[in-house]
Each structure stands twice: as C-alpha cells, then as structure tokens.
Amino acid sequence: MSELAGQRSSPGAPAPRTGEATGGVAPPSSGATAPAPSGRRDRGRRRLVTAVLAVALLAALAAVPLFVDPFGTNTISRILVFALFATSLDLLVGITGLPSLGHAAYFGIGAYAAGLVALHWTSEGVVAVLVAAAAGATAAVATGWLAVRSGGVFFLMLTLAIGELVHQLAQSLSSVTGGSNGLFGIPSVRVAGTPLTLPGYVYWFVLVVALLGAAGLWLVASSPFGAVLRGIRDNEPRMRSLGYSPFRYKYAAFAIAGAFAGLAGGLFALVVRIVNPADAGFTTSALFLLAVVLGGAGTLWGPALGAAVVVLVRDTFGPTLDGHGPLLLGLVFVVAVYVLPRGVAGLGGLLRGRNREVPS
C-alpha cells in the first residue's frame, strides 16, 4: 500500500485502470525508485499478507460483542460509524482532491433523516439507513453543484458555509429537529421486525452496514471512475484535454461521498439514538478531516484508522479535560501538519525512504 505515498507526485493517472488501490504499480515519481524486477513476487506476497490481515481483522471485529463489555461494544460501534464517515470524506479529500470543511452536513442530514424515519414511520434498520443515504445524496446533489464549480480555496470556504448553514438549520427548525435539544427518543433499531435490544446485535447490524459501505467506497475508488478522480486530483487540465469533464466527475464524487456520509449518519442515529445540531456542525467536519489527514488521505483504510484514534481520544480524554477537548484537538492539528504530512499511512513509505515532497 505504501506506493500510495508516492502517488501524489505522479503525473496524472489517465489510464482507466491503474489498479493502485489494490497495491498495484505506482508510476515512478521523481526521486522514487521503480520496483525491482522481483517486485511481482513481492507484490503477490504483500497481497497475500493484506488478505490474511483483512480476514483476521474481520474475524476480530465480528467477535467483539462476545469478548467486550456492552460499553466497549458501543464505543466500537461508534468507531465503525465514524470510520465509514471518514472514509467517505477521504473519497473527496484524498481521492478527488477536494478538501471539504463541511462534510458533516451530509452526515447530520443522514442522522436526522434516519432519526425522523425511526420516530415517525418505522425503526426498521435497513429502511432508516437507506433513507439516510438517500437524504445525504440528495443534499449533496443540491449543494454540490455550487461547491464543485469552484476549486481550491473557494471549495474550502463554500463547504464551510454549507456546513454552517445546515448546522444553523438544524438549530432553528426546532419543530422538526428539536432545535438545540436535539432529536431524542429514537426507538431501538429493528431488523425484520425484531427490535435489537442488546448492544451486541446493534453492533453486528452496524458492522454489516459499515462493511458494505466501506466495500462500496472501495469499489468506487478502485473502479475506472476512481482512476479518473485521481487523475483530476493530480492534473485537472490534463484530464480535461483527454476529453473528461472534471466538473461531472467531481460532482458525481461529491454526491457519492454525500450518500455514504448520510449512510454513516443514519447508522449514528440508530446507535446513539440522539442527534444534536453539533453532529452536523463545523467541529465534526474538522474532527474527521483531521482523522483523514492523520490516517493518510487517499488510502481509505488510513482515514478509518484515523477515525478510530479521533473517537477514542475524544471519548477518553474529552471528559477529563474539563470540556476543553478542542484544545487537545487543536494541538494535534498543528503537530500533525508538521510531523505527519502523509498521515499514518504515509509512514510506511517514509520508512522505505520514498520521496515525500508534495508538488505545490
């Protein structure tokens, strides 16, 4: 996976399939050594190791409720939810190169949608979660047209504005959202009519949906469509001259990311069973942007790891710091920018002495 470290400096990836998400050859970048002739066998072995690790991780995740107490299970459920959210953000930030400061808006919209469905219609988990994803996608389609038309710093500012708008709406539409009290009393999630009362069952439901979501994002990222997104990230004028419409691809990526963020938000509402305006707010956006950067943007698995760290830090240290968790968060931001320019996922590449300069 560490080839991704050198990916940013590659001169565009216009070929429909580069297979880089599965650990394929990275185009040799300036200063990076091309894989040696024995690279093929190495790669095969690494793929095997990755597969074994993935299966072991899956087994461990599936076995969590059997060995962990309900509180811990609930925490891990939330980690899974936010890992999916961070991964959806990575599709924008890392794969497409669109740094969004308002992605929590779609997470929040999904959470409110699922909460409202569960409160007023049915707490059937699959329905609530699908409605949440549809709501996230719809909101992203509605607002993304404007955001994606702009690039760079304008995109940052516009997504920030969109996020704040959704946050304020959640606060002011109190007849629907419960205002600053939030949406509470969400009934426990049902699957095929049976309410899941034990945290273990809820956890398994979250695990299945989060894994399906992650698989969906991975498919998007490793498809020819994903390759075009990477090409746009690395060299937009070149992609345009090759006949692609960057706007359409970016818009589609924005909508897909919004849908998966909505899905994560829906899961969140079903797990935590209370939704606050803050869940759609700027702090949530910033927190998981940090998770993406900490974990390593563009790798999908890195941000999921980053989300786990962020959730653990926030839940473990948040209460002990007298409510001044943001102080720690701010320090982590500042340190991360200097110390981990590529995130944890970039460390592997660093150890191999790969080129870490990023072109401006």
Binding site: V93, P99, L101, L146, R149, S150, G151, G152, V153, F154, F155, L156, M157, L158, L160, A161, I162, E164, L165, Q168, L169, S172, F282, A286, L289, L290, V293, H324, P326, L327, L329, G330, L331, V332, F333, V334, A336, V337, Y338, P341, E357, V358, P359, S360
Partner: protein
C-alpha cells in the same frame, strides 16, 4: 415606501454598522489570501481575542480602558501575524489543505485558551463614555457608538483605497496580488512582505474585535460566527479585492440585519442564497482579479 423605510431605518443602520465591522475584518482576510496565498482560518479567533481584551479593560466604561484595549489588540495582532507568518513558511509549497488545518488548529487552541481564561459566560462591553447615548436619526433614536462605527468603517475604506491606489506600498500590494513571483524577481524580499501583510491583516482582526465588543460583546463561539461571515464576504467580493470586500461587507451587513428583521426564519437561507446567487453569476466573486489563484 417612505413608511417602510422609516420603520426599518434602525435595521438598515444596523446593517451598515455590521457591514463596517465586517469590512475591517474581511479586508485583512482578503489581503492576506490575495497577496500571500495564506488562508487564515484563525482570523475569527484573533477577532475574539480583541473582543475579550475589550471585555477586560473597558469594564468601567472609560476611554483609557478602551484605548488600552485598542493598543494592546494592535500589538497582539501584529505579533500573532508575525508568528503565523513563520508557522506557514514551511507549508508554502504544500497543498492549501495543510494551511487550512494549521490555522484551524491555531483557532481551536486560541478559542479554548480564551474560554479557559474568561469562562463561558457572555460578556457585555459598554461603549466608551460620551458614545453610550443615542443620537436622533430621522426621528429614530440610534446608538451613537454604532454611528461612529459606520463612520470608522467608511474612513478605513477610504484610507485603504488611498494607500492601495495612490502609494508605492499600495503598488506593491497590487503587484503581489497579481503576480507574486514577479515581485520577488524584482528584488523584493517576499518573506518580509509576508510578515508585514500577515501582521497588518491580523491587526485588523484584533482591532475589529475591540471595536465590535460594545455591539456583540464577547462570548465563546463568536469567533466561528464571525469567521463564517467574513469568509462569505471575501468569497462574494472576490479574494484579494478591496473594493470587493467593501461591497461584500455592505451586502452581508444588510442581509444579516435587514434580512433577519424582515424574514427571521429564513435568515440563514438568505445568507447562503446571496452567496449562491453571486457565485452562479460570478464564480470567482464580484471583483476577482484577472489572475486565477486557486
């Protein structure tokens, strides 16, 4: 029409007062980005520093306290800008996201330190003596301090315009917005310019914080609200454009005041609607320069 105007005069004047404040704030943000490509998300936090300075020195409502707060805010703003300039130097060749994260981190730290020092209560700040009364404007009583604020904003706009259009420093500013590499090739030390620009930009933020304190008070969360408004102003006006910052600030001031007064439920929509409308017509803002930055 005259009746409507009369009924809403206070809202309109409030809009101008907010616009004046937003201009002071946004012009700093806009120059810093336009000239130095530094996106300073800590701008709102610097503003809040000014507000809290005012809250601690103007407690009794005295001119000395107010002027002390202003002076301190100016010094702190200059220093903060210098520090920020040093911090962003290693990030100059990295993606804009890194700068955004850095300044975001700084703004979180500053805001939290302020809330540790001053607590989470809302502090109200009285205007300095002599300005705490109200003046009669076309039959409506209106706070004198806000009138002064409008005047100050217009005065600053005039000064900035004169400096930028008529002096050699202004020529340097305009040249840097247009093509920084060329300016540096002409033998001007880019780093010194950067320190100066960031210092003045941050100074404008802290001073705006002091000036705004008698209107907004000082409270946690004000930094985010104000940063959002300033960003919207800058996006509407176009990055790096002073004229744009003025027009944008006046428009958003009215949206915030008149919009909220007439359609209280839709205020957020109007704000975003204005932004959307401008960007649909002019994707880079009303007065964006010919040179693309992003």
């Amino acid at each position: 029409m005259a009746g409507w105007f009369d009924a809403n005069l206070v809202s309109i004047l409030n809009g101008f007062a907010i616009g004046a404040l937003l201009f002071i704030l946004a012009v700093g943000l806009s120059i810093v980005f336009g000239m130095m490509d530094v996106l300073n998300l800590a701008h709102g936090a610097f503003f809040l520093v000014g507000s809290y300075l005012a809250a601690s020195f103007v407690a009794g409502g005295s001119w000395t306290g107010f002027l002390t707060a202003l002076g301190l805010a100016a010094v702190i703003g200059l220093l903060a800008g210098g520090v920020l300039s040093g911090l962003t130097e290693p990030l100059a060749r990295r993606p804009i996201l890194d700068q955004a994260l850095l300044t975001l981190g700084i703004s979180l730290i500053v805001a939290e330190v302020l809330s540790i020092v001053y607590g989470n209560d809302v502090r109200s700040v009285p205007p300095p003596p002599g300005l705490d009364g109200s003046t009669d404007v076309a039959g409506n009583a209106y706070p004198t301090y806000r009138l002064l604020l409008i005047g100050l904003g217009l005065l600053l706009a005039l000064v900035v315009w004169l400096v930028v259009e008529r002096t050699s420093v202004g020529a340097l500013v305009r040249a840097s917005v247009a093509d920084r590499e060329m300016v540096s090739a002409m033998g001007i030390d880019n780093r010194k310019v950067k320190v100066a620009v960031l210092g003045i930009g941050s100074l404008l933020a802290t001073v705006a914080g002091v000036l705004a304190a008698p209107v907004y008070g000082a409270r946690p969360g004000l930094d985010e609200t104000i940063l959002l408004l300033a960003l919207v102003v800058v996006v509407i006006g176009g990055l790096g454009s002073i004229r744009g910052a003025l027009i944008g600030a006046l428009v958003i001031g009215q949206v915030e005041s008149l919009g909220r007064a007439l359609l209280p439920d839709l205020a957020s929509f109007i704000l975003f609607g204005t932004l959307a409308l401008v960007l649909i017509v002019r994707p880079r803002g009303l007065f964006a320069g010919k040179v693309a930055h992003a």
